[in-house]
């Protein structure tokens, strides 16, 4: 036995126990300290609660975060290519429960045109059954107050629940059968990321070491990442343990319109043991729902796309120039922020209930983001989609605003007046010939 082993043995044999009376006394002191701080700092100070309740921008931001979190988790990508990364994907699929951390920062302008410098830390727990739990910690874009959100994605219950302990509020969103089916196959997790990279052109970064682990890196800068949803520049890297074939770290840098986003996924733990109860949200009795009825997430289909185009045009006077999600959210939140501020000024003493405001926001934002998501799916599924919002206005009744392939020789077309028709490819060529080049 080496000296180190002998000393180690001695350390293990060196034991300490505690006197229970003294032990309780120490814990009482801790409880007193905790109570003192709880009494001194209420979960949400009154003035901040008032700001949060009155501030439409915060609501837009919260709604956007909820929707992005929800929408990005519901895509189905069933094609695979490549060699090593496809193996990584298979390897992840074999893990029953895993968790990881995501540190994210976003800067630029997204919330009602205001500069945003947002940092977010997320702890994510995913089960093989595709239940997922996310604990998000971030600071409010308005007053810097810490915000914690606890989100549960529950495909079996066809619902998503988000708790906001600081506000003692929760949001429930009901998902359709189709979306549940998609959610079962996908979550916003490393599988999603690997699948996305596999869908794109990517390169090996060679071998490196992270925290003493030998890894191989892969990188994509393909703008088609996330179905082109992000619009601008993309730089995504993932490092995989060469022995276990499991991700060790991943990094995303994206320029999305006016927003620069940086995210790092790290501290992966595979095959963790958790109690099934961890995936069961417990809504304390004193929590109130943001809306009377659960918010319904629309299907990402033609009908939602048309509704989204209509709402966007109502809010801004034109169709979106391009269908990338972040730009759409940015422009919608700007428009809604000023509209709601205007409404408030006009109604001054009329007190719009929080539920009504949230419902209104959800009803408008859902179809608009659903539009971008629908388009993203068409890109991912290679349905030959095209969108001409840059040129076509609501007055251009006969112009093709958006189209996608539905069969070998047929395309579905949404015109400028938002009527939809199926046309054959010859007719489509003729229709598109009248568009500005």
């Amino acid at each position: 036995m080496s000296s180190a082993d002998e000393i180690k043995k001695l350390f293990k044999e060196a034991e300490l126990s505690v006197n229970s009376d003294a032990d309780e006394k120490v814990f009482e002191d801790m409880q007193k300290a905790q109570q003192k701080i709880t009494q001194r700092v209420p979960a949400v100070p009154d003035n901040i609660r008032r700001i949060l309740m009155k501030n439409p921008i915060v609501k837009v931001a919260v709604a956007a975060v909820v929707i992005i979190a929800c929408l990005t988790g519901v895509f189905m990508f069933d094609r695979t290519s490549g060699v090593a990364l496809a193996d990584v994907l298979n390897r992840i699929e074999q893990i029953s429960v895993y968790m990881y951390q995501m540190s994210m920062s976003a800067s630029g302008q997204v919330v009602a045109g205001r500069p945003v410098d947002q940092e977010m830390n997320v702890t994510i727990l995913v089960s093989h059954d595709y239940d997922a739990k996310m604990i998000t910690e971030m600071s409010s874009p308005v007053d810097g107050e810490d915000i914690i959100q606890e989100m549960y994605m529950l495909p079996k219950k066809k619902t998503m629940i988000m708790l906001m302990p600081g506000h003692k509020k929760y949001v429930q969103m009901d998902l359709s059968d189709k979306m549940i089916e998609q959610t079962r196959q996908q979550n916003n997790d490393p599988r999603f990321m690997v699948q996305q990279i596999l869908e794109c052109e990517y390169e090996s970064l060679g071998f490196s070491t992270i925290d003493g682990i030998e890894v191989e890196g892969f990188r994509t800068s393909d703008p088609n990442y996330l179905g082109g949803m992000m619009g601008g520049q993309v730089d995504v890297k993932i490092w995989v343990d060469v022995v276990t074939q499991l991700p060790v770290q991943a990094e995303m840098n994206m320029q999305m319109g006016e927003i620069q986003m940086h995210a790092v996924m790290h501290d992966f733990e595979w095959d963790v043991t958790v109690d099934a109860a961890e995936f069961e949200p417990v809504i304390p009795e004193d929590y109130k729902a943001f809306t009377d009825e659960p918010i319904k997430v629309p299907e990402f289909d033609e009908q939602t796309a048309i509704q989204g185009l209509e709402l966007f045009a109502e809010l801004t006077g034109s169709y979106p120039e391009e269908l990338n999600l972040m730009n759409i959210i940015s422009k919608t939140s700007k428009a809604m922020g000023s509209k709601l501020a205007q409404d408030r000024m006009q109604q001054e003493n009329q007190d719009i209930s929080e539920q009504e405001m949230t419902k209104e926001l959800a009803e408008k934002i859902m179809p608009i983001t659903g539009l971008a998501t629908f388009y993203m799916q068409l890109v991912q599924n290679k349905n030959d989609p095209a969108y001409y919002g840059e040129f076509v206005t609501p007055e251009d009744t006969d112009q093709v605003l958006m189209r996608w392939k539905v069969s070998e020789n047929e395309y579905r077309v949404i015109f400028g007046d938002l009527q939809a028709e199926t046309v054959d490819s010859d007719v489509l060529t003729e229709l598109e010939s009248t568009l500005p080049q």
């Binding site: 044999e13 060196a14 702890t123 910690e137």
Partner: protein, 181 residues
């Protein structure tokens, strides 16, 4: 550790039981660390008591990222270092007459109860330079990797490994006559 993340989350929410679970999970480990670093039960108890009370006050500040265990270890280490620095000052100023000695004397209010091996080990550790004591304690008692110890000490991994080798050799010679290893 997912369990720790959830414990912190619940603790920040003020949920019943989270503080108790954190305390029960880490009190022995932190007390033992403080004992081997300081060589004095009373000082170790004061330090760990202080660390946990301050932790209870930190719900608004503590983040969900990072490790709860490392947070507590760092807190204990910082307080031990502060204590030793203050003790040295007092000693230099002639305010304290004796070195810290590991004590097995128990007062009625004693919190920690040490077995003979821990008393012996703790006493021997006080014979070596503090940096070496820290390295060997963090490595042997808490199984921390050298990389993390280096970070905690603000030193290179090679320096830490060197301190570890010296510490092991010194401990071996100190304990040879005292205990059957």
């Amino acid at each position: 550790m997912i369990e720790d993340k959830l414990l912190i989350f619940r603790f920040k929410q003020g949920r019943n039981g989270a503080l108790r679970q954190i305390y029960d999970k880490y009190k022995i480990e932190m007390l033992k660390l403080a004992v081997v670093l300081t060589g004095d039960i009373n000082t170790a108890e004061d330090i760990v008591h202080d660390v946990f009370v301050r932790f209870a006050l930190s719900a608004q500040r503590i983040g969900l990222t990072g490790s709860l265990r490392n947070y507590l270890i760092t807190s204990v280490m910082n307080r031990v270092r502060n204590h030793l620095r203050d003790s040295n000052r007092r000693r230099l100023a002639g305010l304290e007459g004796a070195d810290l000695l590991c004590s097995s004397e128990r007062s009625p209010h004693q919190w920690a109860v040490l077995n003979e091996r821990l008393l012996l080990l703790s006493g021997a550790l006080q014979e070596m330079p503090y940096e070496q004591r820290e390295v060997v304690s963090l490595r042997m008692e808490l199984d921390l990797p050298f990389r993390m110890i280096a970070k905690l000490q603000g030193a290179s991994v090679n320096t830490v490994k060197g301190r570890y080798r010296y510490a092991i050799a010194k401990l071996r010679s100190l304990l040879d006559s005292e205990v059957e290893l």
